[in-house]
């Protein structure tokens, strides 16, 4: 294997891992507060469709349009998550049911497709696309240049967010409170932490990040909207959080591993390696299954990292 090939694999691992980093970080925050959100896929699709719509409608300089589109996409994801928060935190319905309902509601044959059709953006040629930014003029450096210094702004944003989330979780009082809420909402409540507010905020922020991850598809990967274009990325993001033992740094690595797997088959084919392409196409999903099966057996024994109250609604009066 030559260096160019390895660089090409790493670069595409980052490109296709980035939506997973964003959505995965969001889900990680949500789950840390004890809320399981299975609606990630639906939130990503809503982010993808609204982000694309806004980028098609607005005039003005490209960078400004894209920033507004990203904010709106995050808002759309956050709004969806607010529904989940209301249902699972306030009304205390089963979180799995609520999350699944949202994915079905907003999914490939649901709301996201509907608004895409109403807005008539299907088949439109995207007017704006996030391009790579050569950071500090270092993009020309061999090997590290294209990997570290020649990415699109979403990628830099995702790196910043990983650092920010890690710092928040482990180095701030709010992060400590958040972990307390996820581990034992009753104790947190006794300490005077507002459990409901923490869960609401982190569910909505999680949804916003999922929306942003979805927008990556329509604003960066391919500037085109089509029904269901996230193709299961939301589910992979949920699996990633388990794979990462609820740690942002591991999540970044895991996301790039999935990204690499998703394009490895294409790269090998392009280099004339004769392997059944279906095998490679199925790899990311196969890995999802392996990760989920593996993680759940380990967790069954040691429960590494799982927020103890994950998926359990909290009600003060029950105590």
């Amino acid at each position: 294997m030559n260096t160019d090939l390895i660089v090409a694999i790493v670069v595409s691992a980052i490109a296709y891992g980035t939506p997973l980093v964003l959505a995965g970080l969001g889900e990680l925050l949500t789950e840390r507060s004890g809320v399981l959100n299975l609606g990630v896929e639906g939130m990503m699709l809503m982010g993808a469709v609204t982000g694309f719509f806004v980028s098609q409608q607005l005039g003005g300089p490209g960078w400004a349009v894209l920033i507004v589109a990203m904010i709106v996409a995050a808002g759309a994801g956050g709004l969806m998550a607010l529904i989940h928060a209301f249902l699972s935190i306030t009304v205390r319905v089963n979180q799995i049911v609520s999350g699944l309902a949202l994915t079905i509601f907003a999914g490939a044959v649901g709301l996201s497709s509907y608004v895409g059709q109403v807005w008539g953006i299907g088949g439109q040629h995207g007017l704006h696309q996030l391009n790579r930014v050569d950071l500090l003029g270092l993009g020309e450096l061999p090997v590290v240049g294209p990997i570290l210094f020649d990415q699109d702004p979403f990628v830099y944003l995702s790196w910043g967010l990983v650092v920010l989330v890690a710092w928040y979780l482990y180095r701030t009082r709010f992060g400590l409170y958040l972990r307390a809420v996820g581990e034992s909402p009753r104790s947190a409540d006794a300490m005077g932490i507002n459990v409901t507010r923490y869960r609401y905020v982190h569910t909505v922020v999680g949804g916003a990040l999922a929306g942003l991850g979805g927008a990556y598809f329509t604003l960066a990967i391919a500037p085109i909207w089509t029904d269901g274009l996230t193709a299961g990325a939301g589910w992979i993001a949920i699996a990633l959080v388990i794979f990462a033992f609820w740690r942002p740094d591991v999540l970044l690595i895991g996301a790039y591993l999935f990204g690499a797997l998703s394009s490895l088959g294409f790269t090998l084919q392009a280099h004339g390696v004769q392997m059944p392409s279906e095998f490679f196409s199925s790899l990311p999903y196969l890995m999802t299954v392996v990760v989920l099966a593996g993680a759940s057996t380990t967790l069954a024994r040691r429960r590494i990292g799982t927020p103890a109250s994950l998926g359990v609604p909290y009600a003060r009066e029950e105590g």
């Binding site: 160019d4 090939l5 090409a8 595409s12 296709y16 490939a108 044959v109 497709s113 895409g116 059709q117 953006i121 299907g122 088949g123 040629h125 598809f217 990967i221 391919a222 500037p223 085109i224 909207w225 089509t226 029904d227 269901g228 274009l229 193709a231 998703s262 394009s263 294409f266 790269t267 084919q269 392009a270 280099h271 004339g272 004769q274 392997m275 059944p276 392409s277 279906e278 196409s281």
Partner: protein, 355 residues
Amino acid sequence: MPSPVLTADALSKWTTSNPYKAAFIYVGAPSDAGWTHAHEVGRLAVQAAFGGRVQTMYKENVPEGPQAAQVVTQLINQGANIIFATSFGYQDTLVAAAKAHPNVLFEQATGTEQLPNLAEYYGAGENGDYLSGMAAGAATKNGKIGFVAPYPIPEVIREIDAFTMGARSMNPNATVRVVWTNTWFDPAKERQAAESLVAAGVDVLGDGQDSPTTGQVAAAAGLKWTGYDSNQESFAPAAWLTATTYNWGPYYINDIAAAMNGTWKTHFYYGGLNDGFVIMAPFGQSVSAATQAAILAKEAEIKAGTFDPFTGPITKQDGSIGVPAGTTLPVYTPTGLSKYSINWFVQGVIGNPAG
């Protein structure tokens, strides 16, 4: 667009209050700017031609396989008189449905099975792909062409073969690297596949996908591109060379008129450049006058019937003889070698025809 000729009988039978119902099953979304978009243009042409006498309906994003049966049943319950299934993978479903519903007419695009109420329709896309290949062969500087391909099925394989033979007619040393995406339509995967080819050093891209994503990758990398299905020039004008496009409307109008008149009979329609079913998209700015002239001359030969890309001698990828000298492959025969049964790549293709 041909205007439908309806008999007096049909005119009195099919009215705005009792329209003839024509249904279309789409494998993708009409918004795909490619294959399904071309069918959707055809459906709208039907609607425009017949007005209120025909009610068209469609189901989009219908998975190929057993789930399609449910959609067919639904359409029949909604009163569909004729159902057009627009992708190869619906064939088994359609055969079963045609047997179960002898009073409904069925038409299967790109397939082979015929029944008294099941017809086949498609066209010689491979002839257009030969011409696209010529444009690609003329455009490549390093002789390396990449091709983003959907599924390893005969329809796609013969189009890649024709594309490659066209490219090598302009540049005998040209090679075509094939990357399979195993999807008709998935912009993210198509982009990954196209990027992997760019990373492997190709300087022209072709595709058989339903979205124009390959072209966007080509444009971003400063390369040239041949599209597929629809005129997709606006998606990447700087990269655009040309494309094979399909004009489904006139066919749909003719067949629906026949069905309304009661004269519909099962058939195996195979349109082409000569009857306007296959149309070459306009050339991009970078296609030189000499290349355009060569392509147009070849197109005239195909239309006149004096040239067929699948005339021997054709050498397979492994060096053995695919089609012996003097033989021209028939479109389809139930047994023996025909265009519909080619499952091997010609010399010059780098890739695995088995996927």
